[in-house]
Structures are given as C-alpha cells and as structure tokens.
C-alpha cells in the first residue's frame, strides 16, 4: 500500500446515479478486484471504491451516488487532486479461471469485473460476462465488455433490455469452468446456490481503515476470521459461511 496524490482527469455521469472518475498519477501495479481508499475533504473516513480499469498511470473507478461521500465525489472538479491509499485488498485469483470463466455482476458490482475481464482475455480465456441491471436505462459498461472481447449477456429486472429477470436465472444456460462475482449480497447468495463450479466472491462491508488495522470489517469464514479489507474482499466459494 502507498499513499499517493492523483489528479482527476474525468468525472462524468454514466446514467442518473452512476459516475465514472478517471485518476492520473503514479499508480503501483493493481490486481483485478483490488480497491482504492479515497480521502474526501470534510469527511473523516475514506471511501473505498473498486478499480474498474487500470493502465499504468491511469485508474478508472465507477461509483454510485448513494450517500454524502459519493455525493461529494460527484461534484469534484477535473484537475483537482485526490489523496488515495492503494492498492488495497487481495483481488481475484486469475490462476484458477480455466478456459471459460464466467463473470457475474450486478449494479456497481460490475466495474471491478471489467478490469478482470480484460486481464483474463489477455491470457487467452473465453470470458462470458453476465451483467444485471434494473432496466435498460441503467445499463453501463456493456459495450466496453464487448469491445474488450467478452461474450456479454445483459439481464434486466423488467426485461426492457436483454434477458429478463435476475442474473442467477440465466446461469444454468452457460457453460463455464470457474466464476467470478461481485454485486449485492442477495445476488452473491443466489450465485452461491446456483453455481456448479468453484468461484470467487467479492464482498462489501463498512470499513474503518481499509488496510487491515482496525478489525472493523471482520467476518467469519470456514478458514477462520478474515478482514474483508485485507484478507478479502475476494473470498473463495469453499470458505464462505452465509
């Protein structure tokens, strides 16, 4: 982990609630599934946000405006500096993907899977991305997955775009060797129940520090107590206790 100043080079809405922010600076190597912890003026706790894309000196994050922190982030100006701790968390393990990994995400669980898809595709894997949204109006990143070379299946709750229902309704139709997932806990639990291979889950929790010092985000697993921020956020299916 390092503490580094980044310059905001872009901060734009992707839809009514979802924003994309690009940061430029001296970034260390970041693994897919890791996150960064952002200092926001006037707020005590930093805000942990997953990395959507990383390219040497540029980091892209996609965040949803849900509270005072992300509200303030949405108003930050291009050109201003941001104090960031990074990279944090364990990230996804790419070595067990097999030839046909399935990426399952919904809402703001989708962004970290984009960087993962790019890395897996670079290794020659045939990636399928199963992406869940409320409706066609909420769709983001779908084109980027497709342009990166993934097979994309979009699912909307109301059926206004792509397949109808929940992402977990459509897992049985896909042939996959391993899965990677990130999204709301209800969806993660559904993936756990419907999945037929091993896989990796990225979890979310209210954090104090984000780097393993405070024990604020601990959880119980089959392999002992884990800190979501440091030993996670990615846990293997075999170690999860619901």
């Amino acid at each position: 982990m390092i503490q580094e100043k980044f310059i905001i080079t872009e901060n734009k809405p992707l839809n009514a609630k979802i924003m994309l922010m690009r940061l430029s600076g001296n970034a260390p190597d970041i693994r897919a599934g890791q996150f960064i912890n952002i200092k926001i003026d006037g707020l005590f706790l930093r805000r942990p946000i997953s990395v959507c894309d990383y390219d040497g000196n540029e980091i892209t994050v996609i965040y949803k405006i849900v509270g005072v922190g992300t509200e303030k982030m949405s108003k930050m100006r291009v050109g201003s500096a941001l104090d960031v701790l990074l990279p944090l968390g364990n990230g996804y393990d790419l070595s067990c993907s097999g030839d046909k990994p399935l990426l399952i995400g919904a809402g703001v669980g989708i962004p970290p899977l984009y960087y993962l898809a790019k890395r897996l595709i670079a290794q020659g894997k045939k990636v399928t991305a199963l992406l869940g949204y409320h409706s066609g109006n909420d769709v983001f990143l779908r084109g980027e997955f497709w342009r990166a070379g993934a097979r994309v299946l979009a699912v909307t709750s109301d059926g206004s775009l792509g397949l109808k229902g929940r992402v977990t309704d459509h897992m049985a139709d896909i042939d996959y060797t391993h899965f990677y997932t990130c999204g709301p806990e209800g969806m993660l639990k559904g993936v756990y129940e419907k999945s037929v291979t091993s896989g990796q889950f990225s979890f979310e929790e209210r954090m104090g520090c984000g780097f393993g010092a405070c024990m604020g985000c601990s959880c119980k697993t089959i392999t002992g107590y884990k800190r979501i921020c440091k030993d996670g956020p990615v846990l293997f299916k075999e170690e999860i206790l619901w």
Binding site: Q3, R46, M207, G208, G212, A213, C217, C219, K230
Partner: protein, 304 residues
C-alpha cells in the same frame, strides 16, 4: 537541538508518541509503510485470555470529525499473541511494546497480564477497564472507583512490569477513579478510551452499528480528552498518558501541557496511516516555534 524524550514509568521513550490500542494491530500493516522504531512505543491490539471474534458487523459508523467503532475486542487470545504475534513483531520492532489487556473478570485480567508480563518485548501493561463494546466486563470495571481499585490490586499482585490503567470517560468523576487506581499501586493511567455514541441510518431508520452503539473517537473528542487529562493530572502523582483526538504535533504539545507524560494517537492512524510518523517528524519544528527545548519539562505546564 530540542529534546523530545520522556520517561514513562521508568522506561525512556525517544518521543511521547504512541499509537493507541486497536488502531495499530500488531504493527505489521504500518511497518510496511515506515520504520515503526521511530515511535515512542505502541500499544498493541487489546488481548483477552480467550480468543474473541468480537461483535457483528457493521462495526463502524462515520461522524463529524470522528467515527464510532464497535469491534468488541476481536483478538486471537493471549496464548496465540505470545506464541505468534509477539515473535513476529520482535523481528522488526526493537523497542519495548505496550501490552493492552482486556478482561471479563478480575481473575482474567490478572491471569492475562501475568502471561504477558513474562514476555521480554513487553515494557508496560495497559489494563483496559474501559472498553465500551463488551458486556459483563470491560467498561463496567472502569465506571466505579471500587471495581477499578480491585482490578488494579489484582493485576499489580500478578505482574512485575509497570501497570497503566486505561480509563473510561463515560463516568461522572474520572479523577476519583484515577485516584483509586493510584491508591492500589497503579504506575500510571491512560485516558480517555472512547465516548459512548450512536448513529442512525435515515434510510433504514435503524442504528448503523449492529450492536446499536459504540465508542466515539477522532478529532472531535480532543477538547473532552484534554479536560479529563487535566482533571486527572491535578488529582494524581503517577504519570498520565493522554489519549483522544490527537492528530498533530500541536495536539501532542497541548496534551502534555494539560498533564500528559506521553500521548496516544488512535483514530488518526486509520484514516492517515502515516499520522504518527508525520507527528513525530513535525515535533521538533513545532517545539521550536513555541520556544520549547524539552518536552518532559512542559508536562502539566498549564497548571503552573
């Protein structure tokens, strides 16, 4: 050349800055960032006789200029701390460390402290009778002078190293409790632990913290901590370790003027992992700015 060193219960510290228990783990995460031997010392994660998972999550809530935590003394238990954490710590920390001890009965405090007392790397035993996040122990020993005195007596009997009792601010008269500890032979007191606090999520209309309430810390509590340190300093002769909202070299000096011999830094470590390094590096220039040659000479200066 200014002198930042202080004497804490017979052990010389190169400077008075001590990361507070529960905000620094066993030092590993911070040792990756900077050489933690620059610290005066640090107080490691609160240790109990038995392993503990602690409270359900969410354990953290944000506040203005601070945060609430309800971790609930998560730790691997004293035997594992001694067999695994302390040997690992001694590979990169070559100073004496402060062992923070939690408990649920007088016997447990004494037993846990006695086991840590035998470890070479341990310099002081900081006895936490003020954890607001556990039931049937913790803070209940810190809210009555009688119970605080009983814990002190039992621990003093069980150990040889200096005993510092960590006090709760959630009381009517903290000076009376400090005096009771002093009366039973405590070598020092540290204060304040966190203030009981609560936040409610307007969307769910329920408390943010799973345990409903927790301990409030951070810069917001500094004036309260400072006042209590001064109250206790005025009432006892043993060293007082000042804790609460410290985030700068100026705060350290202010705490010492109020009566602190050393100063613990807590919540600041969690949001600024370099907080203690920055404070220690800023101390000499800040001392010069305020015409201070020696930190140990200013202790309690506000009472002079």
């Amino acid at each position: 050349m200014v002198d930042t060193s202080v004497d804490l219960c017979g052990i010389r510290l190169s400077n008075p800055v001590i990361p507070a228990s529960g905000t620094f783990g066993y030092g590993y995460e911070f040792a990756e960032l900077y050489d933690i031997n620059m610290l005066g010392t640090f107080s490691f994660k609160g240790t109990t006789l038995q392993p503990r998972f602690g409270n359900p999550t969410p354990r953290i809530a944000e506040c203005t200029a601070g945060m609430i935590n309800s971790v609930g003394l998560q730790n691997p238990g004293v035997d594992k701390v001694i067999s695994e954490e302390l040997p690992r710590l001694s590979r990169f920390f070559n100073k004496k460390v402060m062992a923070n001890v939690g408990g649920f009965s007088i016997e447990e405090y004494a037993e846990c402290a006695s086991r840590l007392d035998k470890c070479d790397i341990v310099g002081w035993l900081e006895i936490n009778i003020s954890c607001p996040n556990v039931h049937g122990g913790g803070m209940s020993f810190g809210t009555s002078p009688l119970a605080a005195a009983e814990v002190t007596r039992a621990v003093k009997k069980a150990v040889n190293k200096p005993v510092i009792i960590k006090l709760s601010p959630n009381v009517t008269d903290i000076a009376a409790i400090a005096s009771a500890c002093e009366g039973e032979g405590a070598d020092g007191v540290s204060l304040i632990n966190t203030l009981l606090g609560m936040r409610i999520d307007l969307k769910t209309k329920k408390p943010i913290i799973a345990n409903r309430k927790g301990g409030f810390s951070g810069e917001a509590i500094f004036p309260i901590a400072l006042r209590m340190v001064n109250d206790v300093y005025s009432a006892v002769k043993i060293p007082v370790v000042g804790i609460g909202g410290v985030a700068s070299a100026e705060n350290v000096i202010e705490m010492m003027l109020a009566g602190a011999t050393a100063v613990e830094v807590g919540a600041a470590n969690l949001v600024e992992p370099f907080a203690c390094k920055n404070i220690i590096e800023a101390l000499p220039l800040t001392m010069e700015k305020y015409n201070i040659n020696s930190l140990s000479e200013i202790i309690g200066g506000a009472n002079g």
